[in-house]
């Protein structure tokens, strides 16, 4: 099944907005729904770079996209791989797949088609700042970023 005309229009809109807010991000493998990703680099205020991958859901824009941090390999302040933490409430992490960290950004019950990729990435940008705060202080990430009510 190919993208519907609404989904194609939505993808164009998403990439237009991304080009304004996160210009390094681009859409890849966009032909087949379920395989498309948006990938790019984010830089923290301290200047560290992170490669982010957002998986475009096949039912765009009706479900929460999976967002992964592809590189660098993230470790916590104590040297443990974040992947090894598995799902982590305090670190806002979902179950990792393929050895890559997944960020919990929106719960399914709070998702709506009005949320754009750019809004999602804005949360990831805040998560990165909180992650670096964790590296400095040892506080878990939810010391900096609260949780959505279930």
């Amino acid at each position: 099944m190919a993208w519907s005309s609404q989904q194609s229009a939505r993808l164009r809109l998403e990439t237009d907005i991304l080009s304004r807010y996160f210009p390094t991000f681009s859409l890849r493998d966009s032909i087949i729904p379920g395989h498309a990703v948006v990938e790019g680099t984010m830089r923290s205020n301290a200047g560290h770079e992170y490669v982010i991958r957002l998986h475009v859901p096949a039912d765009l824009p009706n479900s929460v996209p999976v967002v992964e941090i592809i590189s660098p390999i993230l470790k916590d302040r104590f040297g443990h791989s974040l992947v090894d933490l598995g799902t982590s409430y305090s670190m806002h992490l979902l179950k990792p797949e393929n050895g890559v960290v997944r960020i919990c950004h929106y719960s399914a019950s709070h998702w709506s088609p009005n949320v754009t990729f750019t809004k999602v990435l804005l949360k990831i940008r805040a998560w990165i700042e909180a992650y670096e705060g964790h590296l400095d202080s040892g506080f878990p990430i939810d010391h900096y970023l609260p949780h959505m009510q279930a």
């Binding site: 304004r20 807010y21 996160f22 210009p23 984010m42 830089r43 923290s44 205020n45 301290a46 806002h92 950004h105 709070h110 009005n114 949320v115 809004k119 804005l122 949360k123 940008r125 805040a126 700042e129 909180a130 670096e132 705060g133 400095d136 202080s137 506080f139 939810d142 010391h143 900096y144 970023l145 609260p146 949780h147 959505m148 009510q149």
Partner: protein, 63 residues
């Protein structure tokens, strides 16, 4: 006055998370890709800057 050092930004996030009142807000400036702390009543740092700590459904982790 703008602040964008990591420590200030992280302290602000902590305050928001703890539900404390603050006179600052966090904005994302797409030109520099930085998160910047500005006074709540300050003018926009750039035309495209967006609030990044809005404690509502869409803006942040919390509602």
């Amino acid at each position: 006055m703008e602040e964008k050092d990591s420590k200030s930004v992280q302290d602000h996030l902590t305050q928001i998370t703890q539900g404390k009142q603050t006179t600052k807000k966090l904005v994302f400036d797409p030109r520099t890709q930085e998160l910047i702390l500005v006074d709540v009543k300050a003018p926009q740092v750039s035309p495209d800057a967006v609030t990044a700590d809005d404690p509502t459904r869409d803006g942040f982790f919390a509602r």
